[in-house]
């Protein structure tokens, strides 16, 4: 019935289900249908269901069968004719069924089928029977009753055959078996075993009386049916056995199941549910019944079960306490048969009453010890175990002081050694007794010189040996270098060190562990010694550690090679700690991934932070770096790649992977090596006394061999590299410095003129090769010096006397002028110095291929050189720098005495070139070499006078293009700036923040050089222009003596506070400027 809404007929609705009748108001209210009325009826209208309590389903008429009246019992009919044949009389099930039951879906459906009589088989049989009847029976006549008795056998042919062969029902098929065979067969059953027959075991086979010759038929077993697997179940799967899953009977938990077998019986294939394949381990029988046999029913142990098989053997029988034994025997223990021996107790030796557990060393003792040890071939340096801190109590109190080697750690050893000195050993005793010398060890077979060599090598492990080595020369150098302006500390320490090694050790020189551990040149003891010294120098941060090593009587080439070797070795075999330290960054500080940036960041971090804290944002807080964006990023940003060909991504300085092991192993070509060396040379500032000493030492060494070296210099010129020039230069400088005190000064000055042109040429050939834009210049500068020194002997000394006088004046002047400023610079560089050195140390370890670190180093130098040389204090307590200025002013300034005052920075730069620490190239050095090329090739004869007269501008202009673009570029700017007029207030500002600028300069320079190393670009130069200006101003300011005087006076009292004040000033100035700008 579809319900239609009246309102909208247009719409067609699909109605589902039967709609309720609309209740008609007029219709009388229907009587509610009672439960009785609601009855289920069958197709004929009969009620079949009567409710659960009234009989349920019923058949027939209310469970009466047959009629409305119900069941009518059949009456007994007795008659002879009608016998009960089973079918006619009695009750059949059908009698109780109605037609519904008999119908197709009833409980006993009836079908019409062909009666047996009319089936084909039956018909055949009938015809057969008739035929037989017709043919065979005459006796029985036509009576079939007898025939019916005879039933034909309904057995198959196979069975019949088997029977004929003697088989009987219930037997197995096969040959008969003996009794043993039968028993064996019974056991060997795999696969599906039938249910165990209850009587299989006791069928009489057990009987002993059975004769052995009786054979048995095999047991009748069902064939294993190998049915093809036609389902998709897993192998071995069989369906769930409902009988197992649902035990229908009462489970008796207290009775162990009889059929349960263990072990072997479980081997069979036995599916028992889902998921257990043939290859899987069977789970526990989840559906199996639990029975109490699986549980431990008794509480507590079963007697003595706790011991197990390791129980003591005598357990059980009671232990018998021995007669003498007092006490109780522990259960499980027995008394041992042996008695324990009481240990003897030795009391400690009593100390003498006046013993004090602190030992003081006498100097003479110590020395003698050193000597004896060196001579004796024990070779073990006990003192290397010593550290100054742990000079503990000497263990043997009463021993003589002469034989005692101090120290706590090796106490026993020292005791032994001292004892050994007194006592005979086996061989000595043998000798004393007149025996034949016995070859005791392999070492006795070693030839004597070899032995000596070994000993020497051993001794070299001791660093103090190195210190001790040139003691004599120390003294002489002391006398040479003199009393005039040496810092006090130096003198005292050196003198002390001559006498007391131990004291020296206490003064804080650490043992260089690497040297003791690894000996790369142990084959050549002398070389190893030199290497150790070299390491020591490196350790103390000498700029030119190799110079201190000094190899007299060798050619430059050899020296150069050895130097490279040393630096290589020092790199490779440096102590692990420093290597590891290079890989970690300090927490909290700001460090870049790459060390070269890190150092300078640290330097300017402080004032950058200061500036930032004062909200003075500007140049101080800003850093510009070259940064390469990824090509794709550029594309996505719709910006042309600023570095189209660049393969670098990110910061240019971060181009190497700092965690690669191979950074440490890259020593490809010699030039790189040289750079490395540079890096290593510029390590920490030396502890003052060390520097002094070493300088002096090498100096004296060289003075001894001056002439020799000179010869070799000339000889080896052909294969000299630029770096050999460098070495020579430094040597020359040193020589000069030595000579200053007690030898004619004219020496170096004189030679300048004669040798210069030639040398210059070679330098600039280097330049033109373009292999190194920064380095050669300073080198050239130094070679210049070097030649002065080298050829000093040849040239006449007379001419230069006046010049030297002048020069001396200048030196004096500069010293007096610059004295106050020194404090400031020291204040600045004392801290920055060490940081820088550490970083450079890391760098040169890590980065041998890139040349940046060198650039940095070199850029770092000028600060020293300038400050030292120009403003050097004569007698301040900064000993590291005091020696150099003297040398430098001597060596460097000699040739430029008469130059106009504007060029004085140059002099200073040149001066610095002479000193060993600052020898590496810097910008102030750089314009030194710019000088010579101005001289034409032919003007080799050009005298000093000629370019003494040159004005500053000309002087610069004369430099060739190359040098101008390259390191000399700075200088050009400088000169240009000089000519320019600068606003004075700016200038003052700059001077005030000279310290700051100073640091900035380093960075700028560093960057500048870095960039130069890269492809030089004009734009970059432009950018740098400003910086250069600054720098040049700065330099200029310093050069200007009058300016400097006032500034330095101020600087004298420079403190951090003042720096801050100045920063504030600067800030206010900037603010004002900003206001103006607005």
């Amino acid at each position: 019935m579809a319900a239609h809404s009246d309102s909208d007929e247009d719409e067609t609705f699909v109605s589902i289900g039967t709609a309720l009748d609309v209740p008609d108001k007029d219709e009388p209210v229907k009587k509610p249908i009672t439960v009785q009325d609601m009855s289920v009826k069958d197709s004929k209208g009969r009620v079949r269901f009567h409710g659960a309590f009234t009989g349920g389903f019923s058949a027939g008429y209310f469970n009466t069968v047959g009629s409305r009246e119900g069941f009518t019992p059949s009456t007994f009919v007795s008659s002879r004719e009608k016998r009960t044949d089973g079918s006619g009389s009695g009750q059949r099930p059908e009698d109780f069924m109605d037609e519904e039951d008999i119908s197709e879906h009833g409980i006993a459906p009836r079908k019409f089928v062909t009666s047996a009589q009319f089936t084909s088989e039956e018909r055949k049989k009938r015809t057969f029977d008739e035929a037989k009847l017709a043919t065979a029976d005459s006796i029985l006549g036509g009576d079939t009753t007898l025939l019916n008795l005879i039933v034909p056998e309904r057995i198959t042919v196979g069975v019949r055959l088997l029977r004929k062969m003697g088989w009987k029902e219930g037997q197995g098929v096969g040959p008969r078996l003996s009794r043993k065979q039968k028993q064996a067969e019974g056991r060997r059953i795999y696969g599906c075993t039938g249910p165990p027959s209850p009587d299989s075991g006791d069928d009489g086979l057990d009987d002993e009386t059975v004769l052995s010759d009786v054979t048995f038929a095999p047991t009748d077993t069902a064939h294993i049916l190998l049915g093809a697997k036609d389902n998709t179940h897993g192998l071995g799967y069989s369906g769930l056995d409902p009988r197992k899953a649902l035990p229908s009977t009462h489970i008796n938990l207290f009775e162990a199941p009889t059929v349960r077998k263990s072990g072997a019986s479980r081997r069979g294939i036995r599916g028992q549910g889902f998921g257990v394949g043939a290859l899987e381990d069977e789970d526990d029988d989840v559906y199996g019944m639990d029975d109490m046999s699986k549980y431990d029913m008794t509480m507590g142990g079963e007697g003595d079960d706790k011991f197990g098989w390791t129980a003591p053997t005598h357990r059980g029988q009671k232990q018998q306490t021995p007669v003498g034994y007092v006490g109780q025997l522990l259960d499980g223990f027995s008394l041992s048969s042996k008695k324990l021996v009481q240990k003897k107790d030795f009391p400690p030796p009593s100390l003498p009453r006046d013993f004090r557990p602190v030992h003081r060393f006498k100097k003479s003792d110590d020395q003698s010890i050193v000597m004896t040890r060196n001579q004796s071939s024990t070779g073990v340096d006990y003192r290397q175990f010593l550290k100054p801190s742990d000079a503990g109590p000497s263990p043997v109190p009463g021993t003589s002081s002469s034989g005692l080697v101090p120290g706590s750690a090796p106490g026993s050893v020292s005791q032994g050694s001292s004892a050994r000195e007194k006592r005979h050993d086996a061989t000595s005793r043998g000798v004393a007794l007149g025996e034949q010398a016995f070859v005791g060890s392999v070492f006795d077979l070693i030839p004597k010189e070899e032995k000596e060599r070994i000993n020497q090598a051993k001794q070299n492990t001791d660093t103090t040996a190195i210190v001790n080595f040139p003691l004599r020369t120390f003294v002489s150098s002391e006398t040479l270098e003199g009393s005039e302006d040496q810092p006090k500390g130096d003198n005292s320490t050196t003198t002390e060190s001559t006498s007391n090694v131990e004291e020296h050790r206490k003064s804080g020189v650490p043992l260089f562990q690497g040297a003791a551990i690894f000996k790369p040149f142990s084959k050549d003891p002398a070389k190893q010694l030199r290497y150790d010294k070299y390491l020591e120098a490196v350790k103390h941060g000498h700029k030119e550690p190799y110079l201190l090593v000094g190899m007299p009587g060798k050619t430059d080439w050899e020296k150069e090679r050895e130097r490279e070797e040393f630096s290589k070795a020092a790199h490779l075999y440096r102590p692990l700690a420093s290597m590891m330290a290079a890989r970690f960054t300090r927490a909290g500080t700001i460090e870049d991934g790459e060390e070269d940036v890190k150092a300078e960041q640290k330097i300017d971090q402080t004032d950058a932070e200061k500036a930032a804290s004062m909200k003075m944002y500007g140049k101080l807080t800003r850093e510009d770096e070259e940064w390469h964006p990824d090509n794709l990023v550029c594309k996505r940003f719709n910006v042309p790649n600023p570095y189209p060909g660049s393969t670098i991504v990110g910061l240019i300085s971060a181009k190497r992977d700092k965690y690669s092991v191979f950074n440490f192993l890259n020593f490809a070509n010699p030039t790189e090596m040289a750079y490395d060396r540079r890096g290593s040379q510029t390590q920490e500032t030396p502890p003052p006394e060390e520097v002094k000493k070493d300088n002096a030492k090498t100096d004296t060494d060289k003075t001894d061999t001056t002439s020799k070296v000179d010869k070799e210099l000339n000889k080896g010129k052909a294969m000299k590299s630029i770096f050999s020039h460098l070495i020579d230069a430094e040597k020359g400088a040193q020589k000069a410095s030595n000579l200053k005190s007690d030898k004619p000064v004219s020496f170096s000055v004189k030679s300048v003129q004669s040798n210069k042109p030639k040398e210059f040429k070679s330098i600039f050939s280097h330049l033109e090769k373009g292999e190194n834009t920064v380095k050669p210049a300073p080198v050239a500068m130094e070679t210049d010096n070097d030649e002065n020194a080298a050829d000093a002997g040849k040239t006449a000394a007379g001419k230069s006397v006046s010049k030297t006088d002048k020069f001396a004046e200048l030196v004096e002047k500069s010293e007096t002028d610059g004295a106050p400023a020194m404090d400031l610079f020291r204040a600045i560089f004392r801290n920055t110095d060490s940081e820088d050195s550490s970083s450079s140390e890391e760098e040169d370890g890590e980065d041998s291929s890139s040349k940046l670190p060198d650039a940095q180093d070199s850029s770092f130098q000028p600060a020293f050189s300038i400050s030292d040389s120009v403003e050097a204090t004569p007698a301040t307590s900064l000993p590291g720098f005091t020696a150099p200025p003297k040398q430098s002013t001597l060596a460097g300034c000699g040739s430029f005495v008469a130059l106009p005052p504007e060029i004085s920075p140059m002099e200073t730069g040149k001066g610095s070139a002479g000193q060993p620490q600052d020898s590496s190239g810097d910008e102030s050095d750089a314009y030194g070499p710019a000088l010579p090329p101005s001289l034409p090739q032919g003007a080799a004869s050009a005298s000093n006078d000629k370019w003494r007269d040159l004005p500053a501008g000309d002087f610069i202009d004369l430099t060739n293009e190359k040098s101008r673009n390259q390191p000399a570029g700075d200088i050009i700017d400088l000169t240009n700036d000089k000519s320019k007029d600068r606003p004075p207030d700016d200038y003052v500002d700059l001077t005030k923040e000279s310290t700051k600028k100073h640091k900035h300069r380093h960075r700028d320079k560093h960057k500048h050089k870095k960039e130069k190393k890269e492809k030089r670009k004009k734009s970059k130069h432009k950018k740098k222009g400003r910086k250069k200006e600054k720098r040049s101003r700065h330099v200029n300011e310093r050069s200007d003596s009058s300016e400097r005087e006032e500034s330095s006076d101020e600087d004298d009292r420079e403190t951090d506070k003042e720096i801050i004040n100045r920063l504030k000033l600067l800030k206010s100035a900037q603010r004002q400027r900003a206001v103006d700008f607005m």
């Binding site: 700001i590 460090e591 870049d592 991934g593 950058a608 932070e609 500036a611 930032a612 804290s613 944002y617 500007g618 807080t621 800003r622 850093e623 510009d624 770096e625 070259e626 940064w627 390469h628 964006p629 990824d630 794709l632 990023v633 550029c634 996505r636 940003f637 719709n638 910006v639 042309p640 790649n641 600023p642 570095y643 991504v649 990110g650 910061l651 900003a1074």
Partner: protein
Amino acid sequence: MADTLPVKLVYSQICKQGAVRAVRFNVDGTYCLTCGSDKSVKLWNPHRKLLLKSYMGHGFEVLDAQSSSDNSQICSCSMDKTVMVFDVASGKSLRKYRGHAGIVNCVRFNEESSLVLSGSIDSTVKIFDLKSRKMEPVQVLDEAKDSVTCIQVSDHEILTGSADGRIRRYDLRVGKLCTDLIGKSVTSVTFTRDSQYVGHKNTDCRIDSCLNAKDTHVFSGSEDGSVYIWDLIEKVVHSLTFHPSDNCLVTAAGDSMYVWKSKYAPSIDT
């Protein structure tokens, strides 16, 4: 001047997503996104006070989000170290970048919305390319020494602020990295409109908003260079966004966001 300041609280809305970590306008200021601590990002129409959609998929609190310039995508970053890009219409996540080693603080599209830049606590900024299906960053800016707290991207510059107290401006056109030391750790940076011209001095107007956020004052440098000072809200205001052109500010504090307009704007009843 005061008229142009959004000083009137038009309404406040509890976002029902836990603490609101960030609130961001879309490009034209018609919609805004809130990032909740319940791992969801919600898209609102702040002017009609309508919640349009919420985007699930992050594994932890969402710290920042931005919609692309064509409003078709939303990038978001989360404390689960991932950066996700959602499709605005369907709400499905298109990309999930797992490149960072730590919490990702901030995320930005570039101007074309073809790159996603994300700054993380692992002190790197990673640039992911949306056009390719690569999961690796195209470039990693690892110059920062500490957690990168904020990024801004202009047409040719990337500006990052880091907890090491430095602002880094990567200029793609020139190929330079300009590092400015601020001193304290920077938590928010924005470009000024005239950044192109000023060049060296105040390229980056710093919103010290989050620096001072702890004391309920919010200083925000806006495009007109003026400074807005807010101390109206009791709770910590930790995120705010200014309408790109209109005079409207949306701030987030606690579990709700606040919409501010100029004085004369009609207030919407809550």
